[in-house]
């Protein structure tokens, strides 16, 4: 029975292009080696698009070292040596302008490192042209537009590994004195011919968007005259085939949203007849999960085999993405009436508490279609982050079918610790992917069923995927709306007025201090001395805490108390007192709300209570964090309502601590600077203060205007 082609340009792929040669590079050792060999032949241009890159990473190690090769082993030195050696070669590195959350794991301040800025033809740029919360996740390398690499591997630390994934492999160690990193499994695809040129177009467009500079294609400079950059040691697995290039790009500025990867996944899952084999780091894309669920519900549908890491890297990911993936697993298991679903993790003896970090992003449909790329099976890879995948389908060609099957068997052979030929035999014998794997599983290096680990308590703590794993860019007002009832958002204007008034009053006081007789009437050293005296008093801390509690009960503005605290005790001590006081006040008001109960608090909070209460019950911790960060309601009202809701005290206090910190830090720093300005008391410092205040007021005003405009547009939409 003939099959309808899956790849459709303009729908599930950007372009279908011809590739002279294709090879699958499994694991970092092979990719880094092939990358180095290809770049050694580059004449005009090397384009590197990265989520992360590190100049210190060693490209060849152990037996891959060639004594005759005098080029440096580390990436940064190697690239510099190449531009020095080839007078017409330009190397362009575009790295995601990462957020500070990732800073500890990355090369620090790359823009200022000699390895990245030491040669005029080695161009390094950071790319921050993406919506808030998104990242550039594409991993593309293009050499002279003749050879290109796409996949899940970045040229950075912790990626180099061999298919053995040995627990004690010291060659994996990146830097002297550092521990051996976790085993890392990933795949890159290497292509040559017009497909590489198309990927060059994609990379140059990214470079233009990030830097404003258009790059000339190397063809125009005669790159085709140089030697073939395809590494001589890599045997092509497919020759002369059409492949699809699929992308994800979020809506950003004038750039329209592109969701080709998502459509490709949905179309390819729908096309499966016998089996779907997936390797993935994450597994939370709800549309993909839904597509798989439908296939599992069908009678005699395809088998679904998924290989994932036992757990993802980092506590945050484990507490969020691993929870989301288990939600998808449960849905799939419920739909799997014919036992056609298997979830596995690689098992490598000697790893102890560690696991193999399965980082590959692969889908193989029957022997017909293979997808390799950067897109994870999570929602953000479908519409928020930039991604690039390559898909190849057989379209009736037996050699391509054979290559796809061989690639899958090679992967399974790696995970099961045996030669691919045994997989092939088992498949032929069993006539089923699942039965073949089950017949070959055993002790030692193998695949074992993935155990569900998330408890109901942990699951309840994690909010819906829209927050943890958004499918498209979100706007801050939508985030607020998600957690805070509309009615609770009304006091924003009043709150901003109040903050503005307090700041204006402080500045008026400072002005009066400078230009009025007040300066002579009040003795500054005396005031400072009195404040210090009070600060040293044994009961000062208790008194401060008591004031916070009392102020909370009468709904006195918290901001004023924080300012006073910093003025009296200085920035550090004042900050700590304010934090302790605010939390104690919050705890007392919470307890009061709890004791008074719904009915009594309803009289205070009115109709707002029900909606806020609903959100607190659903997403307690995050709701508390958001309402503490965004000025949406009086501090005490939030505490009382929380006390009557079903949110646990522990979550309430934790959320309050996290949510109060940003505001406390800002107010403490501002107040400290303000007092410094008053003490110095000359015109330039006062002018600086006035400018700072003007910025603050203008910012608050713009925020209010923006918020009103958003609200108007939302209200207008239904009638348009």
């Amino acid at each position: 029975m003939s099959r309808t082609p899956v790849l459709k340009p303009g729908a599930n792929c950007w372009r279908v292009e011809h590739a002279d040669r294709v090879a699958f590079l499994v694991d970092g050792a092979d990719y880094f080696h092939a990358f180095r060999e290809a770049v050694k032949q580059a004449r005009r241009s090397v384009l590197i698009m990265a989520w992360d890159i590190d100049s210190r990473v060693k490209l060849v190690r152990g037996q891959q070292r060639d004594p005759a090769d005098d080029l440096p082993e580390t990436l940064g030195n190697f690239l510099n040596a190449m531009v020095r050696r080839r007078k017409q070669l330009n190397i362009y590195v575009l790295d995601w302008d990462f957020i500070m959350l990732f800073a500890p794991d990355r090369e620090w301040l790359p823009l200022y490192k000699r390895e990245w800025n030491g040669h005029r033809r080695l161009h390094f740029a950071l790319d921050d042209m993406h919506p808030t919360g998104a990242c550039h996740h594409q991993k593309i390398v293009v050499v002279d537009d003749r050879v290109a690499f796409v996949g899940g591997l970045d040229l950075t630390l912790g990626r180099w590994d061999t298919p053995e994934h040995r627990s004690d492999d010291s060659i994996r160690r990146e830097l002297d004195g550092e521990p051996v990193p976790q085993p890392y499994h990933d795949v890159q695809i290497m292509v040559s011919g017009p497909a590489a040129t198309a990927l060059g177009d994609l990379a140059r467009e990214r470079w233009f968007r990030a830097t404003g500079r258009r790059l000339e294609a190397p063809w125009a400079q005669g790159a085709q005259d140089g030697p073939d950059p395809w590494p001589a040691h890599v045997r092509p697995e497919i020759e002369n085939v059409e492949l699809g290039i699929s992308r994800t790009e979020p809506e950003y500025g004038k750039q329209a949203e592109v969701r080709e990867v998502e459509q490709l996944l949905l179309d390819s899952i729908a096309s499966a007849r016998e089996s779907i084999y997936i390797e993935a780091q994450y597994f939370s894309a709800h549309k993909v999960g839904e597509a798989l669920r439908k296939r599992l519900q069908q009678e005699k549908g395809p088998e679904v085999v998924v290989l994932l890491p036992e757990y993802t890297v980092g506590w945050l990911s484990q507490k969020t993405m691993d929870v989301l993936r288990e939600r998808v697993f449960r849905q799939l298991m419920n739909a799997d009436r014919e036992r056609r679903l298997r979830l596995y993790e690689p098992c490598v003896p000697g790893l102890g508490d560690e696991c193999v970090n399965v980082h590959s992003k692969i889908t193989i449909i029957d022997d017909e279609l293979v997808r390799v790329g950067s897109a994870n099976l999570n929602n953000r890879s479908m519409g928020l982050d930039t991604e690039c995948d390559i898909a190849i389908e057989a379209n009736g060609r037996e050699d391509v079918r054979h290559a796809i099957a061989t690639f899958r068997n090679r992967l399974l052979g790696e995970h099961l610790g045996m030669e691919p030929a045994r997989i092939e035999k088992a498949l032929a014998r069993e006539g089923s992917l699942i039965r073949a794997i089950e017949s070959l599983r055993g002790p030692g290096r193998s695949m074992r069923p993935l155990a569900l680990q998330v408890t109901a308590d942990v699951d309840a703590l994690v909010p819906d995927e829209e927050i943890v794993d958004p499918a498209r860019p979100f706007e801050t007002n939508e985030l607020v709306k998600e957690f805070v009832p509309e009615a609770e958002q009304e006091p924003t204007r009043r709150h901003l007025y109040m903050i503005g008034s307090i700041l204006a009053a402080i500045v008026a006081l400072a002005a009066a201090w400078h230009w009025s007789p007040l300066r002579e009437l009040v003795d500054v050293p005396m005031l400072v001395s009195a404040a210090n005296e009070f600060g040293r008093h044994p009961a000062a801390s208790l008194l401060v805490l008591g004031v916070f509690v009392a102020a909370g009960l009468i709904s006195f503005p918290l901001s004023v108390l924080i300012i006073v605290c910093v003025l009296v005790f200085g920035p550090w001590q004042g900050f700590l007192y304010a934090l302790a006081g605010a939390l104690l006040s919050a705890a007392c008001s919470y307890t009061l709300g709890h004791l008074l109960g719904h009915r009594a608090v309803r009289r205070v909070a009115g109709r707002k209570l029900r909606e806020l209460d609903k959100r607190l019950a659903r997403r307690g911790l995050l709701t508390i964090i958001i309402v503490r960060i965004v000025p949406v309601a009086p501090f005490s009202v939030i505490n009382l309502v929380a006390g009557t809701s079903r949110i646990r005290f522990r979550d309430f206090m934790l959320g309050s601590t996290i949510g109060l910190l940003p505001g406390l830090i800002v107010i403490s720093v501002f107040t400290d600077q303000l007092t410094a300005t008053i003490r110095k008391s000359d015109l330039p410092t006062f002018a600086i203060l006035a400018v700072v205040l003007a910025i603050l007021v203008a910012g608050a005003w713009r925020f209010w205007q923006w918020k009103e405009k958003k609200r108007d547009s939302v209200l207008r939409t239904p009638s348009d």
Binding site: G10, W14, R15, V16, L202, E242, Q255, V258
Partner: protein, 116 residues
């Protein structure tokens, strides 16, 4: 004689081009299915003002002059030869994604006619 509602031709280069003038007399619509790899080149030729990197979903229609634009794509130069025949037949040209060219006589309903 009634005309065939739709004739679908796979792309075989000059062979396909040479077949079209005769078929214009016998069919209401002719569909020429190009390899998918032409989608990008056609999109770029027909939508030169669209910034690179957009979703390449084509929907262009016009007269024989559209064939001139199509003939600007490397490998599709042969479409230039059809300009006269299409003009004489008073036919229209439509290009859609993925890489498909329709030539139809005015009055033919392209979308509602099932493929043969």
């Amino acid at each position: 004689m009634d005309k065939t509602p739709l004739i679908t031709l796979p792309w075989r280069g000059q062979e396909t081009i040479q077949a079209i003038p005769q078929l214009l007399d016998h069919a209401q619509q002719i569909e020429i299915v190009l390899p998918d790899s032409y989608n990008h080149a056609l999109f770029t030729a027909l939508h030169p003002d669209v910034p690179p990197g957009q979703l390449e979903d084509m929907n262009s229609s016009g007269g024989p002059e559209l064939l001139v634009a199509i003939a600007g794509v490397e490998g599709l130069e042969g479409f230039q030869q059809l300009v006269g025949a299409v003009a004489t037949a008073n036919a229209t040209v439509e290009v859609s994604t993925p890489a498909t060219i329709f030539i139809r006589h005015n009055g033919g309903n392209l979308r509602s006619t099932p493929n043969q």
